[in-house]
Symmetry: C2
Subunit: 159 residues, 2 copies
């Protein structure tokens, strides 16, 4: 995670950790940001084509970010404990192709991961490289439920 651009390899995969979605957390996120019947209560969800409560897709996405930041912080701390300087990450300009592939139900545990798919040197900012990644979430049955293609600026070694 805190490798410099130059040290990252295509197909490297980083484990971003797991998160179990409680019913309470799903309902609280939905009340605030996505109050559709299939996110709000079992009674309301029963009358929709989902049949039961599922997490808001934006909740699944926000928890990705929680896992990404937590993993980055832990990795930075490990690097510092080893006397190394962790690589800096720049802001993300956005991403491509976000997909909600399968519903996330209360009690489901999603394992998030990052797979490096490409690297581009930045001409305009030579101290940074652009890392292309697939961000993924699999449920407890190993099914891919969520993915998107991210672009992140990562510091180059010796900059």
């Amino acid at each position: 995670m805190t490798d410099f651009f130059d040290d990252l390899c295509i197909d490297d995969t980083y484990d971003l950790g797991a998160h179990t979605f409680s019913r309470d957390e799903i309902l609280r996120f939905a009340e605030k940001y996505d109050p559709q019947p299939f996110h709000l209560s079992e009674e309301a969800a029963a009358e929709t084509h989902y049949g039961r409560v599922i997490a808001s897709g934006w909740h699944t996405a926000s928890v990705f970010m929680q896992r990404f930041v937590a993993t980055l912080k832990a990795s930075e701390e490990r690097a510092r404990a080893d006397g190394k300087t962790p690589a800096r990450f720049g802001p993300s300009p956005g991403f491509e192709k976000l997909r909600w592939i399968k519903p996330v139900y209360p009690g489901d545990t999603l394992s998030y991961s990052q797979k490096v798919t490409g690297k581009t040197e930045s001409r305009s900012r030579p101290e940074w490289g652009i890392v292309h990644s697939d961000m993924l979430a699999h449920n407890q049955d190993g099914e891919l439920v969520f993915s998107f293609k991210a672009i992140v600026f990562v510091e180059r070694r010796g900059s």
Copy 2:
């Protein structure tokens, strides 16, 4: 908003309403889902390249959903009050090209909107059409700060 697929026109724009991002709300979202220094406190943000607190991009996106659902509900209620049956919307399979274009600061008011950019008939599901839209957010200075390209299934008339 609750028009049937057949009645929607390319370039139609729907106002999804505005939202003012309070500092408290920005910090609370970030503590839970995106605890990076430039989202957590003015003191921590001052030491980053942003210089001050900005909203998490996932917060800006989640508030889009809040505005979208609220607008849809209000529109459905108006249609029913007029004795009309509102068109149904299907689940979104995902989206393309999300961009965080400019930072969102505490006190900023974002105006969200949806612009129809394309329509596709669904062969596999003849009772639904696929509507392609640009989802946009402009700040109080009229600057575009956030956008993505969405795909939504919308019911066809007479289905």
